[in-house]
Every structure is written in C-alpha cells, then in structure tokens.
C-alpha cells in the first residue's frame, strides 16, 4: 500500500432507507452522482484519503443499509466508529422523524464519543421540502450534532460534510478529548504518524538512558 496517512477514522453513514446515503458516499468518492441506485444490501464500503488541517486522514466509511431488515447486519458495523453521518431526506418528514431512533442506536452501539453530523440530503429538491432548515438545526443543537444540508445530486456540501466531521474529530484528538489509542475509538494512527510516535518514544528512551 503506497498510501500513507496520519490517521484513519472509521465513519458510519446511517439513516432511513432512501435518504441517499449511498449516493452521498458515491458522490464523495467518485465525484459523480449515482443514477439508478438500488437499495443497499447490508453494508457497503468506501474509503478516501482527505486532507484535514494539514494532516492526511484516511476515512474508512461504512455505508449501511437503511432498510429495517438489515438492522441486525448493520449494527455490528457501528462499533468503534469515530464519526457518523446521520442522514435524513428533507423531502420526507418520515425520515426526519426516525432520526431520534437512529441517534440512540448510534450513541449506544458505537463509541460514546462518536462525532455525529446531521445531514439533510436532497437539498436540490427545494420544491418538495418537508423539513425546514431551522427545524433541523434546532434538532441538531439539542442533540449536540453538527448540521449541514447537502445534495448528492449536485455534490453540494458533500465533501464539506465529511471534512467537517473529520476536522471535529481531529480537534478532539488534539485537545485530548479523544484518545486514539483507546480501544474502539475508531481511530488508528497511520504509517506516518506511527513512525513519528516511534521516533518520539525512542528519543524518550534515549533521554531515559542519559538520565541514568
């Protein structure tokens, strides 16, 4: 693997069926809108290295099926996710109403420190809007979520969503709020940062020897 990165974050994309989770992921990775997409079976996967605040971060993204019957399959992927995109469809109140359930699921099954960003997808279908921006942002505020409205069709805010989430996690790591070395944090050091850590350790050891 010639890819080198500083961190690896495990991300989840969750939300009711038909909200456009797979399309968001496809748009993020391929920079294209996926026509004729079917329901996701189980869990799909995608990864991309992004640059966040001068650090390269590999995002390992699990795109889960929104359909209820896959719930038991998808829940095993929740564990150890560092970040999650909680997606609803702004043209469907039903998907918005389900958010609470999804949120509980994410908070209980994934790591408790999971950084969640609320994503109102299908922004391009303004005419069919059923959920207002204000309403959703209030919900986000109440539940301490970040919030963005996106369009997988036009690509608007798609990359921004992932970057915002990753940036938030990085800040938390830097502030010490998140410990990447804790099990199930959903964060791993990449090759380059591992090397840096080892060097630091070696220096520390050398110092120790000197002290003796």
């Amino acid at each position: 693997m010639s890819e080198s990165y500083d961190f690896l974050f495990k991300f989840l994309v969750i939300g009711s069926a038909g909200t456009g989770k797979s399309c968001i992921l496809h748009q993020f990775i391929e920079n294209k809108f996926k026509q004729d997409s079917n329901h996701t079976i189980g869990v799909e996967f995608g990864s991309k290295v992004v640059n966040v605040g001068g650090k390269s971060v590999k995002l390992q993204i699990w795109d889960t099926a929104g359909q209820e019957r896959f719930r038991s399959v998808t829940r095993s992927y929740y564990r150890g996710a560092a970040g999650a995109l909680l997606v609803y469809d702004i043209t469907s109140r039903e998907t918005y109403n389900a958010l609470t359930n999804w949120l509980t699921d994410a908070r209980t099954l994934a790591s408790p420190n999971i950084v969640i960003i609320l994503v109102g997808n299908k922004k391009d279908l303004e005419a069919e809007r059923e959920v207002t921006f204000l309403e959703a942002s209030r919900f986000a505020q109440e539940n301490e979520l970040m919030f963005l409205e996106t369009s997988a069709l036009t690509g608007e805010n798609i990359e921004e969503t992932f970057l915002k989430c990753a940036r938030n996690i990085l800040t938390k790591i830097e502030s010490g709020e998140l410990d990447p070395e804790r099990m199930g944090s959903g964060i791993q050091y990449g090759d380059s940062s591992l090397r840096r850590l080892q060097q630091r350790e070696q220096q520390r050891q050398k110092k120790g020897i000197c002290d003796c």
Binding site: S37, W62, Q67, E68, S76
Partner: protein, 980 residues
C-alpha cells in the same frame, strides 16, 4: 555534167562581159598592194593575145568542155593522142591549144582589167569596214569598262541594304526573345502564386515549360541565370511539394493528395514521392506523439522553464501525471489514428487511382514503366503498413508503460484498457498485426494494476471480515451470484458457458466495427464518452440485487416491517418479534445463509470476472486471485470459529482440510510483524494479508447463546454457500482460464472448494464441546459402584443428567433456530459431536471403574440402552453415532480370549474406514466380555481406546487370570510405544 559545165561557161562568159563595162577604183591599188608579184606574168600574157574579138570568140567556143571540168586536162590531152603520133597534128593541137590559151589568158586579163575598179571599190569598202570594226571594238571596250564600273558601284550598296534588313529582322527576333524572357522572368512570380494556391501541378507544368522555353534561349547569357533560377524554383517546388506531401500524413485530403500525386507524376518522381511519404509518416507519428505528450506534460507541470521539449519521448512519458494520463492517451490515440487513417486513405487512393491511370495510359508506350511504378508503390505501401503500425504501437506502448496505473480507479483503468484494446483492434484491421508490443504492455499494466487492485480488495475483505458481525444478511430465497449486478454482464452467457467469453468475442468479431470504414469523417474510435461506454455501465451502478430487493421486501408483510421499526425502541419487545421473524424464516426454510461479507466477496468476484473479459491476457492471475479471496474467507472462518486452542482436536479436522489450511496459511496469510524482529521480506509479504481479528461484537463464550452458534452457523454456512456459488461459476472459470492452467483450477476445486463443507466439523465441534458439561457426567459416574452382585432394573442418575443436558441444548437450539434458519446439517453435526463426546465420556467413566462384576457390566449396558432410547426420542439422528464404541467396550468383557483376533479383524476394516476416528462406547463396554485369548488382537485393533481405558478394561475383567492380565497390559504398553 554538161549542164553544170554549161552553167560555169555561162557564168564565165557573163563575168567577162561585165569586166568590160567598168573598172574598179581600187584596181590599181589592188595591183600594187595585193599582187605585186603577179603583175609581170599578167603583162607577159598581154603580148600574145590576139587582137581580133571574133576570132577570139571562136577560139573560145572551140575550147572543149572538158577543160571546164575539173579533170586532169593534161592527162586528157595525152589520152587523146592517137596511136601513131603525127607531129603535125600534135603541132596543130599545140597551136590550137596555144591559141586557145592565149585567148583564155587574154579574156581573163580583160576580165581582170574590167573588174579591177569593182575590186578596188570593194577593197575600199572592206577597208572602211575594218575601220568601223575597229571603232566598234573601242566602243565596246569603253562600254565594258563603264559597265564594270557601274556594276561595282551598284552591288555594295545593295549589300549594305540587305545587311540592314537582315539586322532589322534579327533585332525583331531578339525583341521577341527578350519579351519571352521577360515573361519567363515574370513567371517566377506566377509560380510563387501558384505555389501559394497549392496548384503544384500547374506550377511544375509552368516551370517545366519555362525550362523548355529557356533551353531554346540558351544562347542568351541571362538565360543561363534564369535557367539556374528555374532549377532552383523547381527544387523549391519540390520542397513545397514535399511539405504538401507531409501534410497528407496528418490529414488526408483526396483533392490535395491528388494534386500532389499529379505533380509528382509530372516530375516523374512517383517512386521518390512514395519513399518520401513513408519518411513523412514515420516522422509524423513521432512528431504527433511527441507534441501531444509534451503538451500534456507542460500543461501539468505548470512550469515552462523545465526544458521538456529537449527530453526523450520515453522520458517525457514518465512525466505524465496520473490525472492527465487518460485524456492524453485518448488524444494520442486519436492523433495516431488520424495518421493511420491518412495512410489507409492513401492506400485506398492508390488502389483506385492507379487502376485509372493504367486505363488511361494503356495505349502509351510507357505502360511497362507505369506497371512497374504501380507495383513498386503497391509493394512499398503494403510494406509500410507494418512499419507504421510498429511505430504507432511503439509510441503507445512507451506512453502506456511510462505511467504507473496501479492507483487508477477500476472504471478508469478499464477505460484505458478499452482504449488500448481498441488500438490493438485497429492494428489488426490495419495490417493484421497481433500487436505483441501493445499486448505486452497491456498485460504488464494489467497485471500491475490488478495486483495492486487485488491487494486493496484483500485488505478490504479483511476489513469486512473484521467488522463482520456474522449476522444473517437477509436475501431472497433463490439468491445466487447471478442476482448481483456485478454479474449482470454474464447474463447472456449464463446458460451456455461454452459460448463465452471466447464465444462472446467471436460473436463480437462478426459485427465488429470496421474502424477504417466506420470512422471516415472527423470522428475517431476514441471519441466515445465514458458515459456511453458499455463497460462503464456495469461499474457505475453500484447497487443492485435488482428486483431481488424489492421482491424480498414484499415477502415481509407490512405489519412485520412495523415490528422491525419498533424493535429499536425497546429491547423487551424484541423476543416477541424474534418469534414473528422465526415464523417468517420458517416459511423460507431454505433461505441462503450469507453474510454481508459473502455478498461483497461475490461482488468482488463479479468485478474480477468482468475484468477478465477485458484483461484476457491475465485471466489466470485474476482467477488465482479469485481463489485467494475464497481461501481467505475460508481461512478466516476457520481461524474465527474452528481453531480454538481449548478444543483443538486434530480429529475434528481431517487431513485434507488440514493440508488446505496449511497451504492457505503459507500462501495468503501474512506473518504477524513481531516488534523487534527483523521485518519480514516485504516483497513476499506484499501479496499476503494479515490474519483478521474477530469483531469484538461477536461473543463466542456466552453459554446461553450456545457459544456463538448462530454466528458459527452463519459463518460456516455462508462459506458453504460461497463454495456452492464457486461450483456454479466453475464452468465460467473453465472457459476463462488458459487451457495450460486448467490444472490449477481443478486443484483449487478439489482441494479447497470441495473441502469447504468439511469446515463445519471444527466450527460446530466447539459448540458441542462446550454445550454439555462432560466433566459433571464423569463426576457423577465416579459415584457409581460397578461391582454389584444383583442385576439392577433402574438406570443410573448420570443418564438422566446427560439427557437433561441434551434437552437443554435442544431448547437452546430451537431458540436460535427461531432467529436463524438452522440447516439440518448443522443439527446433525452438533448432535453428532455431542453424542460422540458423550460416548467418549461414558467409556472414560466406565474405564474409571476400579472393579466391575458381570452384573455391573450389565448395569452399564442398561444405562447405555436407557440413554440410547431416550436420545432416539429426542433427536432424529439415525443411527446414533459410535454406539458400538461404548457397546464394544462393555462387551469386550465377555469375549473369550480365543475369539479376540477374528472379532477384531472383522470390525477393524469397517470401523476404521467408515468411522475413523472412532469412539465407540458400546464396543468398549462389551470388551469386558472378551476372553483373554482374544484380547491381544482386540487391543491391537482398537486403537480408538486410550491405553488408560484399555488397561482399566483388562483390570476390571474378572475372568482373566493375573498372568493373562499382565501379558495384555504389556501388549497395550507395546502398542502405545509403537504408536508413538
């Protein structure tokens, strides 16, 4: 005669008569001047003349006539003489003659005198005439002199005039020449004009005409200069023509080319033109390729200062960035295609036009030469095809190999392949070349790309496995790989794999595009947009399960769906819903058991197979990688569920499975990097993947969940499902793999795929081992006394204990089966293991008996029969496995020593072949009855019993004496030794 003499006589007479009448004035003068000597003679005659005129007349008349004739008068006179001479007569005659003569003389003298004046007069006139003649001569001389003078003067003037005229004429001619020369000079300008108008033919014609004209004026000095100038112009025209010719390389235009060809034909240089043309094509290929790549490299580098244009093409190709690779490749191919198309059109033109030319020129004498030319051109063009394709191929190959494509997205890489593939097809159409160079680069890049791609996929697979919760992924009952969109491309050849993909390719050749005919206009075969690309379609949809998804949705009643949603809110309700789900699951009894990873793995296989259709050269490598995917899945299932140290039991894994696992371990699984240890050879480790770790979500220790039985079921059954899918795919693989590699496939199927179901044993074994508390049974059995003296009618408590534990297991199993359809094979496997383990425990328990009586032995049989009959009620496992193991052990007690050998030999074969490894409780129990003589061979054959059990058996057998026991124990110990 007489007449004549008469005439003369008359004349003579008349003459005498006249002399008398006149005297000429010149008489005297004549006398004096002309006849001075004669005068005396005349005077003498005058003296004898007779004076009488009549006499004289008579005399005259007497003259014989003879004297007037011209005869010899003397002779006449002589002849007249008579024979007898008479002097008289003679004298008379002489007198007469004398007289006659006198008369005649006198007459003559008279006549002379008479005519003298006339004579003088006449003489005078002659004199006068002489004088006049002299005068005339003088005049003539004068005239002549004058005439010559005049003539001299007259000629020189006219000559001058003539000369002038001539000069004028010449000058007129010169003027004409000069005019022509002037025109000639001017033609130079016209020539340039013509050249600008690209009318080479006209230019050459004009030039040649000029040259011809000039050659006629060769004598002018200025002409020689002009001539050389014309020559230069001609050379220039040729150069221009050459440039024009080179233009045809990149953009063939019939009109343009015709002009050029006509011009060359005019120059009589068609052969040279052909050679030049080939040179131009070669350089055109190089230049186009270079320019395009340079353009992209400069565009991407952004900096203009690095001197890319001085680099070698190969070097340049290495500087193409990955982003610009595909557009650059497309442009390169397009440009090279244009060049090739131009060449193709050139050939076409020659094919058509050379025929015409021949038709036209057939009558001419140069036919032979033309035919030769035609042949030369044709040969040259035909030969050129291969050379040009070689050049084009080389350029594309260098470009393709210049960039590492391994990090390309699959779609994009496929696109690159497609382009190269199209190029190869074009090459084949162009000159029938197999394009080894391009194929090579294609293979090299494909392999490189695919290896890298596969590494990612393997890593992804590991990630999937590490995150896999081994939950059943609900799919439609009739789900197979073919339902996945990734396999959609095979749909049309699903039914008859023989037709594909090779049959497929032959199909495509039928309606294959003929590039050089289909893309005659500005369009190129590389214009196709990725959206329109057939390849792209398949990869761009990602989700699928087409109708499948919605179908299976409709399987679930709406209210049930409602239940699912409720499930998230409260766990308390979940049990009820599980029950609902069971009923649902029951209705779909044969639902395929697959995991999320299984589906993803199938998708990857689908993509790989799709890749084979474009990556034919590396079909084997791809299939090998497909086998690795399966290997890894199999190994993971084993390492997660079948390889627990606590229950590691070599007997649970048969030899073939063991070998397969070992092979996978050494081929696919990367060594764990131990810190501090020297890093493992990265080259070798690159193609391997570290062993995955089981997701922490999965709990294999919870007793109430039967130690992860449901996860085990999903894992093992999904593996079996996968193997099943592989079996269905086998014919496709068979057609895809090169025939010389078929052995690999056979080996893979026989050693790995067919082994997959064997993995159930170790996976479920673990459940069987943990599900029943065998040690508790042993403890219970230890409390039983076997040296009883009475036959018992009530079985022992440990039997109930075992049965209770079995019932417990049965309940748990049915609990699980409500959530998950447990295939019958799983039940069988779990129960079989449990029964076998129980049997083993029983034998172990029986062997623990220090003392045993005949009644005790019967008691054992009673217990075992009780257990068996209850088991048969509880589980539908027939026959109860390894029943004979226990029975045999018990009954061995009764065997007479002498029957041992034959009994054992009989059982040896069947048992060891069919039930290896064998643990028969029954056998063990029965051994108790064996006579000593049979023990020896029995012992030798029943290696399934441990030495401890055997020794215990020997010790407990009552009917053996001490010596016999001792001997049998030694046999057992010997056996033990040889076993090791």
């Amino acid at each position: 005669m007489s007449a004549l003499s008469l005439d003369i006589k008359k004349k003579f007479k008349s003459l005498i008569g006249k002399q008398d009448s006149f005297t000429s004035p010149v008489d005297e003068q004549i006398d004096r001047d002309s006849f001075p000597g004669d005068l005396p003679a005349v005077a003498k005659y005058k003296h004898t003349v007779l004076a009488n005129p009549h006499e004289e007349q008579e005399v005259l008349e007497g003259i014989e006539n003879i004297y007037y004739s011209h005869t010899d008068t003397s002779l006449y006179e002589l002849e007249k003489l008579p024979e007898v001479l008479d002097l008289q007569d003679i004298d008379a005659d002489r007198n007469r003659l004398r007289k006659q003569l006198n008369v005649v003389s006198k007459k003559v003298s008279d006549l002379v005198l008479q005519n003298h004046p006339a004579y003088a007069r006449e003489l005078q006139r002659v004199m006068e005439l002489e004088k006049t003649l002299q005068l005339a001569s003088v005049i003539c001389a004068n005239g002549r002199r004058n005439l010559s003078d005049a003539r001299q003067i007259f000629t020189s003037a006219s000559l001058k005039m003539l000369a002038n005229v001539r000069k004028r004429q010449q000058l007129t001619g010169l003027l004409k020449s000069l005019r022509t020369i002037k025109t000639l000079q001017r033609t130079d300008l016209r020539l340039r004009e013509l050249l600008e108008e690209e009318d080479y033919c006209g230019a050459i014609q004009l030039c040649l005409e000029c040259q011809q004209a000039a050659s006629t004026y060769r004598h002018f000095k200025c002409i020689s200069e002009l001539n050389s100038k014309l020559q230069d112009t001609l050379v220039m025209i040729e150069e221009q023509l050459d440039v024009a010719l080179s233009k045809t390389c990149s953009n063939f235009d019939v009109v343009h080319y015709e002009k050029v060809q006509k011009a060359y034909r005019l120059l009589n240089k068609t052969q040279t033109a052909m050679d030049q043309l080939h040179m131009h094509f070669t350089s055109a290929i190089h230049n186009t390729a270079f320019t395009i790549v340079l353009g992209y490299v400069e565009l991407c580098s952004g900096t203009t200062n690095s001197n890319f244009h001085k680099r070698q093409y190969t070097d340049l190709c290495k500087n193409v960035t990955q982003d610009s690779f595909t557009p650059c490749l497309i442009d390169l191919c397009k440009a090279l295609w244009e060049v090739m198309k131009s060449y193709f059109k050139t050939m076409q033109w020659h094919e058509q036009n050379d025929i015409n030319v021949q038709d036209k020129d057939e009558t001419e004498e140069g036919t032979e030469e033309i035919a030769f030319n035609k042949k030369y051109i044709k040969q040259k063009l035909d030969h050129g095809l291969t050379r040009i394709w070689m050049d084009v191929q080389q350029k594309v190959k260098l470009f393709v190999l210049g960039t590492d494509l391994s990090h390309f997205k699959l779609e994009e890489f496929i696109r690159v392949l497609d382009i190269i593939h199209r190029m190869i097809e074009i090459g084949e159409e162009f000159c029938g070349s197999k394009s080894d160079g391009l194929q090579d680069s294609l293979k090299q890049q494909s392999l490189n790309y695919f290896k890298n791609h596969h590494r990612y996929r393997m890593d992804e697979l590991r990630m999937f496995l590490e995150n896999e919760g081994w939950e059943l992924c609900p799919v439609k009952t009739n789900f197979t790989y073919s339902r996945l969109l990734e396999f959609k491309f095979m749909k049309h050849w699903n039914k008859s794999p023989e037709l594909s993909p090779r049959g497929d390719s032959s199909l495509t050749t039928d309606n294959k595009v003929v590039y050089f005919k289909d893309f005659t206009d500005g369009a190129t075969p590389f214009d196709v947009h990725p959206e329109d690309d057939e390849n792209e379609d398949v990869f761009s949809y990602s989700f699928d399960s087409e109708g499948n998804d919605s179908d299976s949705d409709s399987d679930i009643p709406d209210e049930l769906k409602q239940d699912y949603i409720d499930e998230i809110t409260g766990e308390a309700r979940s049990h009820r819903q599980y029950k609902r789900r069971i009923s649902h699951n029951r209705s779909r009894k044969n639902v395929p058991i697959v995991t999320n990873t299984t589906i993803n793995l199938l998708r990857v296989i689908g993509k790989y197979m799709k890749m084979i259709t474009v990556l034919k050269p590396i079909a084997f490598d791809v299939i090998y990688c497909i086998s690795q995917l399966f290997d890894y899945y199999l190994y993971t299932v084993y390492s997660f569920f079948g390889s627990h140290d606590s229950v590691r039991n070599e007997r649970a894994i048969n030899q073939r499975l063991h070998l397969t696992l070992q092979r996978i371990h050494s081929n696919v699984i990367a060594e764990k990097a131990t810190p501090g240890a020297p890093p493992v050879d990265s080259e070798e480790n690159q193609d391997r993947v570290p062993q995955p770790h089981l997701s922490p979500v999965v709990d294999l220790t919870a007793a109430d969940k039967l130690f992860g039985l449901s996860e085990r079921v999903v894992a093992a059954e999904s593996l079996v499902f996968l193997a099943n899918q592989f079996e269905q795919l086998q014919p496709h693989f068979e057609t895809m793999i090169p025939s010389n590699k078929k052995a690999f496939l056979q080996q893979f199927y026989s050693q790995t795929i067919s082994i997959a179901s064997e993995l159930r044993k170790p996976v479920y074994w673990a459940v069987s081992v943990h599900a029943i508390d065998y040690n508790g049974v042993i403890n219970l059995m230890a409390n039983v006394r076997w040296d009883i003296k009475d036959i018992m009618s009530q079985h022992n408590a440990y039997v109930d204990d075992i049965l209770k534990k079995f019932e417990n297991l049965n309940r748990k199993l049915s609990d699980i089966s409500r959530r998950l359809p447990i295939p019958r094979v799983v039940y069988t496997s779990v129960w079989e293991h449990c029964v076998r383990l129980t049997n083993r425990i029983l034998v172990e328990g029986y062997s623990n008996a220090k003392k045993c009586s005949n009644e005790g032995r019967a008691f054992m049989q009673l217990d075992f029969q009780q257990l068996l009959s209850n088991l048969e009620k509880m589980i539908d496992l027939r026959p109860i496995p390894e029943k004979e193991f226990v029975e045999g052990y018990i009954k061995a007690y009764y065997l007479p020593e002498s029957q041992f050998d034959s009994w054992l030999l009989d059982h040896k074969i069947t048992r060891f072949v069919l039930h290896s490894p064998l643990y028969s409780v029954e056998g063990y129990i029965k051994t108790y009855y064996l006579p000593e003589s049979q023990f020896d061979s029995w012992l030798l054959d029943h290696k399934e019993y441990s030495p401890k059990q055997l020794i215990a058996l020997i010790n407990s057998v009552d009917h053996l004496n001490k010596k016999a026991r001792q001997r049998l124990i030694t046999v057992i110990e010997d056996m033990e030794r040889t076993r090791r």
